[in-house]
Symmetry: C2
Subunit: 363 residues, 2 copies
């Protein structure tokens, strides 16, 4: 057990943007909400998974919708509390703690803001080890845990309690409802026991995000290259260096979808890299080679500062390095690839681990 | 109190199609479900409003969605029970009775099927005195009763419990969810007390439908014109005689929308009548005159048999008579016209009562 204060939030926000692989919502809003909540209610208690009793009720919380919308429609925090308490009343049992559903973007930080306001602990874990765009794309689902009962709440005061036959239906119906509710909502989802979490969650996610953020922020002071630091910490690979020359982006079915084109610089001069995203970056390729593909992580860093750039933040002319990071081994299983591999997203290729793709390219 | 058996269902189904003003879903499916339920569980207890205790909990039930879809996706009855019981559990109080939300189409009959299966009484009342396409278009809403808590259930086993800030939001979000759930769902909605019903419901709806159906079915035997019988019973007006020459229909945002053109015969020879519908007929006009407009009722009857024709049943060449019926006085108030008058549906005209429109036309 330890406490998360403002300094830790600053670091987590950077690590969350990086593991968010461009999506998960701009962590800036989540950071502001978490900082504000700490200001008002004090530091947040962070528990490691082994400190959670097996029979404790844990409810992850998250924002759902297009991050593009969220920037203009900042949550007040009330909707998160409403969704959380509606689910607690329905389950008829006190909720022991909350946690992030994903290690990425705004959804790493919103549970911290909620926890501060409610005086609850947060568990140092998540259900993706990265960000993904759909509700069934969590390790809990891979292990058969259901998304429902879950509650959707909007800032107007509307809330919906879902009981669906499976998590794919929860995703589908919630997506339709979210669009009607203004494009983004707060969710309390995947109610679980401590035992479920121990089996199915990805451990130490917040601590990992914090380490990444700290390494990037302190690199300059220590005369180190922030990108090398990130690669060392994440077991990642530098895939492509260049500058953004084109971004094609639209909000469709509640998602921010598109492609960014990066013109190569230095060792990549003369090549182009295409980043395909659906909230998150899902496929990085050149004309001839796949560089990295979901569920492995593709993240874009500012070439100078090493700071992660979200898909929303991709701007013409930005100089960047594209990094590939191996996904957690739960995602590299047959079931993991079925749920969040390239074919699910409509790309006509099989999953290959980033380390194998690189070896192939270098031969 | 009296019992509804198979003979009564046959009559109610015809009256429901007529008051359904072309929409509310083909009553045929509701009729089959009600007949089947009576076959299995025996006749249904029908209570008049004054037999309901003031503090009794009453929950109307209805199908939501495009009737076009429902024809291919017949409800099993299980989804209605699930939605009803989910709401009962949530409210923590036994439901005394159900009732139709509208006097029209399938939604007049589905509550009867549910009541038979659950051994509950049905109340001889409804919330429209006709059919309307949206959830807030009920007399309960005009009096400030909320649609939620309500439950949506589909045939797959998904269910959603709604708590919205008002009934317009319930409609909007439920419409989005219904589309994702396959285009039609069952609802338990507008939970009310007996006292609410006495104030806000339209009385004797099922008995009225039964009288209309009986009059049409027995007209020939009694050497009477079924259309004259209907006009006498409903205080209605014959607006236009002709044959259908064109139907333009599409399913859009969960609604069946379109226009039918009727070429005049007999006294209307040389004229054309245009019927605009959105599940229900909302506006009947000729080139020069408005004949009848929502919230007043527009219904199309087969010229020979007097049987009502739904918008789905409108076929090229069908000979028909268009009838206008004054809406219940609750709809002719300022609030009623705001909620379900022509401007709400996007027609650029003020509401005028059908009897005034006719007087104007005849001058």
């Amino acid at each position: 057990m330890r406490y998360i204060g403002k300094e830790e939030i600053e670091n987590i926000a950077i690590g969350a943007a990086l593991l968010g692989t461009g999506g998960g919502g701009d962590p800036y809003i989540g950071k502001l909400m978490a900082l504000q909540a700490i200001e008002e209610y004090g530091p947040i208690k962070l528990l490691s998974i082994d400190e959670v009793p097996d029979d404790a009720l844990v409810v992850p919380t998250a924002m759902m919708g297009a991050p593009t919308v969220m920037i203009e429609k900042v949550p007040s925090g009330e909707e998160a509390i409403e969704s959380f308490q509606t689910l607690q009343n329905y389950l008829g049992k006190e909720i022991f703690a909350t946690m992030p559903i994903e290690a990425g973007g705004v959804n790493s930080l919103l549970p911290l803001a909620l926890a501060a306001r409610l005086g609850l602990p947060v568990i140092d874990a998540d259900g993706m080890g990265r960000a993904f765009p759909e509700l069934q794309m969590v390790t809990f689902h891979l292990d058969g845990v259901k998304a429902t009962p879950m509650v959707l709440s909007d800032e107007k005061g509307n809330n919906l309690l879902f009981n669906t036959i499976d998590s794919v239906w929860a995703e589908r119906i919630a997506r339709g409802a979210t669009i009607e509710m203004g494009g983004s909502v707060m969710l309390s989802i995947y109610p679980m026991t401590g035992k479920n979490i121990k089996q199915s969650a990805i451990h130490h996610s917040l601590t990992f995000e914090e380490q990444i953020g700290k390494a990037i922020r302190e690199a300059k002071k220590n005369n180190k290259n922030p990108i090398d630091e990130v690669i060392a910490l994440t077991n990642g690979y530098s895939l492509f260096k260049g500058k953004v020359t084109d971004i094609n982006r639209k909000t469709q079915q509640g998602f921010s979808k598109g492609t960014a084109t990066i013109e190569g610089l230095e060792e990549n001069k003369g090549e182009e890299c295409y980043l395909h995203f659906q909230n998150e970056h899902l496929l990085a390729e050149t004309k001839d080679n796949v560089l990295c593909v979901t569920p492995d992580l593709i993240t874009v860093l500012d070439k100078e500062t090493g700071m992660p750039i979200t898909t929303e933040g991709l701007k013409y002319g930005a100089r960047c390095v594209v990094i590939g990071i191996p996904a957690d081994k739960k995602w590299r299983t047959q079931k993991g690839i079925e749920v969040a591999g390239p074919r699910y997203f409509g790309y006509d290729l099989d999953f290959s681990p980033v380390e194998q793709l690189l070896r192939k390219e270098n031969n």
